[in-house]
């Protein structure tokens, strides 16, 4: 597998998307992560997805916690507001912002430590709310910024550079997310450009929580022999469930497919996610069996990738709250301060 950053899509300025912006308009600051870090590739896939779908960067709000992964929102889409929160608490700030302005497209970037260790409390509650947001875990199994300690997604038997072996079972964030109610759950690999791109685009099209766990090797602390989150390990153990393709709502969907081998999922915005089955019998609409299959894969050591679960029609948290259509944040005074008569009535009842 390549250990360098894959080239960015089209060269800057070479073409514009459907809202007339160039890829350059989706770029961010220069990365300070290690050369070859999987996170940089994911940043590229994210900005490409928004570019390709023509989402105005100003509509996207980026959120993160603390760690290498959580730094990465500074390295893509500078024209999007970003809030780098405290360690493990990105879900809550994203939730608050999403409620304040329901027109935003919230994108959270977290790591395995930030999510599965310190942040597991907020993570599980975010999953059960089905808040419309994209939640990407850049999963490398170790804490990079503090020099390579295990996180809670490290597999049993995986070995640190120091020789320390992890004895504790990993938390499977995908299994958790599916069990708790997330409505688009996938696992991918930072090196699988095609799969990750399609998955990210489906996440942008989805109205609900999209939880994508992306194995993203740490070239400095966890890419050696004995690691289960290395480029080499993924090359040998990646077991894709489907071959993914994504057809945006604004494109012609007449491309034919064979319903016998391909599942077509119509997303909330009218776009289509097509899953060409690579594993016979896998049904991404069955929560219980998806979890069972993940547990089985943990035994066999294969890393299942692809769309593990999808339910494009579930009600989102924002819908359930019955809020007005406009962003709460900018409602004018006359809509948020009840009239004098209301206070008079309240006071009268207290006499």
């Amino acid at each position: 597998m390549p250990t360098t950053v894959p080239p960015a899509g089209p060269a800057p300025g070479s073409r514009t998307n459907r809202i007339g912006l160039a890829v350059l308009d989706y770029r961010g600051g220069k990365t300070t992560l290690c050369a070859g870090c999987g996170h940089n590739a994911i940043s590229e896939r994210i900005l490409e997805a928004f570019f390709d779908l023509g989402v105005p960067p100003e509509r996207v709000a980026k959120f993160s916690g603390i760690g290498c992964s959580s730094k990465s929102p500074a390295y893509f889409m500078s024209r999007s507001h970003a809030l780098n929160a405290v360690h493990g608490r990105m879900p809550s700030v994203a939730t608050g912002a999403a409620l304040a302005n329901r027109k935003l497209v919230p994108l959270g970037v977290s790591g395995d430590g930030d999510t599965a260790s310190i942040g597991i409390g907020q993570f599980v509650h975010l999953m059960r709310r089905n808040l419309p947001m994209i939640y990407v875990i850049e999963n490398n199994g170790v804490y990079g910024l503090t020099k390579g300690q295990f996180s809670a997604t490290a597999d049993v038997g995986s070995k640190l550079k120091t020789g320390t072996v992890n004895e504790l079972p990993p938390i499977d964030t995908c299994a958790l997310a599916i069990q708790l109610g997330a409505t688009l759950v996938g696992r991918s690999f930072s090196g699988d450009k095609k799969q990750l791109s399609a998955m990210l685009k489906a996440a942008v099209a989805h109205r609900g929580t999209s939880m994508l766990d992306v194995i993203s090797p740490c070239v400095t602390f966890n890419d050696h022999e004995g690691s289960t989150k290395s480029y080499a390990y993924m090359k040998d153990h990646d077991a894709p469930l489907q071959e993914l393709s994504f057809i945006p709502a604004f494109e012609d969907i007449s491309v034919e497919y064979d319903p016998g081998t391909t599942t077509d999922v119509t997303m909330h915005d009218g776009s289509h996610l097509r899953l060409r089955k690579l594993e016979e019998g896998y049904d991404p609409s069955d929560r219980a069996r998806a979890v069972a299959r993940l547990m089985e894969s943990a035994r066999t050591g294969e890393v299942l990738t692809g769309v593990l679960f999808v339910d494009p029609d579930a009600a989102s948290f924002v819908d359930a709250l019955g809020m007005v259509d406009e962003p709460l944040a900018t409602l004018p005074q006359e809509r948020v301060r009840p009239p004098r008569a209301a206070l008079d009535e309240i006071v009268e009842a207290l006499r």
């Binding site: 970003a82 780098n84 608050g96 509650h125 944040a329 409602l331 309240i346 207290l350």
Partner: protein
């Protein structure tokens, strides 16, 4: 009652010695938690209030759903004193578990209305005992034993009405108000009160206490501070409310939810707000910070343990400069402490909540009216100053009902602070998020979603420069921290100004805040009337302290800082802020036992320290 000492020889003179006592006494009702006595006590308080007599109520309850002892004190005061009164004049003993101890704690001459089943005769010879067969009185009202148990409590209201000359018509009006449209409950309770009233006709009155109609409550309302905060928040235009239930703050949000449903849902059924019950306080404050960042008027409400959990996010809010309003309805700490008792123990820790050089803006409402007005102020200040603002109320203020003037409709338009629109950016050609362009330490911000290519900035808790870019430069860091200090200076003149009482000639000053106010008002009268000591009084209403606070200390030789905590927390804050030569003037009158502050404790302590 916990914390009550047995009577001492120098207790104030008893009623028997001073003839009839009208509109100036306290009634304490001792029952078991969950027995429905809260309704009866509210009716009792309201009936007196409706007779135009100033009245206050204090609920002393356990951290328990049902069964443990609870006490409710109603104080009638013709002079309008509404602080807790230490001395109990009339005890209603309904709880077998505490009756003996409660009776032993009374001062001579006190009255005891008690369940006849409690064998209290012979326990004390110096009290006026009125045994009442409550079971017998309520027996004819309903065959339902459970209901009869509740009705016993309304029967004592009837008994008291007869004994204390409380107008039965007012009692019935109050019952109507209490039970609203529940006709069956209303009828039964009226019947119970009447049965008590009738029974009491057979009692020979041997005490001096009575209520007589006055005209001192006209136009007033009766409300608890939590509801007042909730109303303030609603009229401040709160849009995102995130919370985690914790005593004594839960009723603030529950009351708010009720009002929002009624007044903030459009004809199309759509709400102009979102309320989320979070999984914990970490999340509650995180959501509020996220919402505030995105431009909402966001709040959460909590108490001590919750504030502790919110510490890290409070620091992010301070450093990344994000508005949010946090209501801290203080209870007794440390740790879980006494969850259902009152204190002012979070002052120091909240002022500096979180690590590093973090400091926060605090507001201290001292009345339920201020719970309303300061809730409105808090949202304006949070957005004006771009920082978390803490409204420091407490259990006494929040959960007890108080007489109040009707809340003023907020005339000032919402202050949404310094926010740049897309059009502004077009005109300016860009902006620097943390640049002090106006000299007040407050930068201009943009909201996510603003449609302009230069609107975005990267909000972070890491070191940052004026453009919000990551920076580890020592120079940049120091400059930014100095600007934040400048912002706190600006806050001094924006927080509610202190309230100053007194002619300005006194040598003795008193500084207090929050729910200590009623006790201090009364204590000043005691000091003046009984000892001829004139005092000046400054009530702190905000932190960072306004300059007037320093001037007040300068004007007085000795300044007593009265507060409800052990460590004199506000005095400590003040000491940090005062010129060093003024600091020795401060004297500490700081206690915490969980009970609302009473005037006598304040005046006695000041006298003791004055004698030194």
């Amino acid at each position: 009652m916990p914390g009550t000492e047995t009577h001492s020889p120098d207790a104030p003179s008893r009623p028997a010695a001073r003839g009839p006592v009208v509109n100036d006494f306290s009634i304490q009702v001792a029952t078991a938690n969950g027995s429905g006595s809260q309704s009866s006590n509210t009716v009792l308080l309201r009936a007196i209030f409706q007779m135009g007599v100033p009245v206050s109520g204090k609920n002393l309850f356990p951290s328990n759903i049902a069964g443990l002892p609870t006490w409710y004190t109603v104080r009638a005061s013709k002079d309008g004193f509404i602080a807790r009164k230490k001395e109990i004049d009339v005890l209603v003993a309904m709880n077998a578990e505490t009756a003996r101890e409660d009776v032993l704690a009374l001062a001579p001459g006190a009255v005891v209305v008690h369940d006849a089943a409690l064998a209290l005769a012979g326990l004390r010879e110096d009290l006026v005992l009125y045994p009442v067969p409550f079971d017998k009185i309520v027996a004819p009202l309903t065959p339902d034993a459970k209901l009869r148990k509740l009705l016993r409590n309304m029967a004592y209201v009837g008994v008291l009405a007869r004994l204390l000359s409380i107008d039965m018509a007012e009692v019935e009006t109050a019952i109507g108000k209490q039970f609203g449209r529940k006709a069956k409950a209303r009828e039964l309770n009226v019947a119970a009160a009447r049965a008590g009233f009738e029974h009491a006709a057979t009692i020979e009155k041997r005490d001096p206490f009575s209520v007589r109609r006055m005209d001192a409550t006209r136009g007033k309302i009766v409300v608890d501070g939590n509801s007042a905060c909730a109303l303030g928040a609603m009229f401040a235009g709160v849009t995102v409310v995130t919370w985690y239930p914790i005593t004594p703050s839960s009723s603030l949000v529950e009351s708010l939810i009720g009002y929002l449903r009624k007044y903030r849902v459009g004809p199309d059924g759509k709400a102009t707000y979102a309320v989320v019950q979070a999984e914990d306080e970490l999340s509650a404050i995180g959501m509020a910070v996220g919402a505030g960042w995105a431009g909402a008027r966001a709040m959460t409400a909590t108490a001590g343990p919750g504030v502790s959990l919110m510490s890290e996010f409070a620091g992010l809010g301070y450093y990344a400069e994000i508005p949010a309003v946090i209501f801290d309805v203080q209870r007794v700490g440390p740790s879980t402490g006494l969850p259902t008792r009152t204190a002012q123990g979070d002052v120091l820790s909240t002022a500096f909540l979180s690590h590093g050089d973090t400091q926060h803006v605090l507001l201290f409402p001292g009345t339920v009216e201020e719970c309303f007005t300061m809730a409105v102020d808090a949202f304006d200040l949070a957005e004006r100053l771009q920082t978390p603002v803490f409204v420091m109320t407490d259990l006494d203020l929040g959960m007890n009902v108080w007489m109040a003037d009707p809340f003023p409709y907020p005339e000032r338009p919402l202050d949404r602070g310094k926010v740049l629109s897309g059009a502004d950016l077009e005109r300016l050609g860009g902006f620097a998020r943390y640049k002090d362009v106006d000299g007040d330490g407050i930068g201009w911000r943009t909201l996510p979603g603003t449609e302009h290519p230069k609107a975005a900035y990267f909000t972070r808790g890491t070191g940052h420069d004026e453009n919000a870019a990551y920076s580890e430069s020592p120079v940049v860091f120091e400059r930014n921290m100095e600007r934040l200090a400048r912002k706190l200076e600006t806050a001094r003149s924006l927080v509610p100004a202190p309230e100053v009482h007194g002619a300005g000639k006194a040598k003795v000053g008193i500084v207090a805040y929050g729910s200590s106010h009623p006790a201090v008002v009364e204590a000043r009268v005691q000091l003046q009337r009984e000892r001829g000591i004139e005092t000046g009084y400054l009530r702190v209403r905000g932190y960072p302290f306004a300059r007037e606070v320093h001037a007040f200390v300068e004007r007085h030789e000795r300044v007593y800082v009265v507060e409800q905590n052990r460590d004199a927390q506000l005095a400590a804050l003040l000491q940090l802020d005062l010129a060093p030569e003024l600091a020795p003037r401060l004297r500490r009158v700081a206690h915490v036992h969980g009970l609302p502050l009473d005037a006598r404790s304040v005046s006695d302590e000041i006298l003791t320290l004055e004698a030194r």
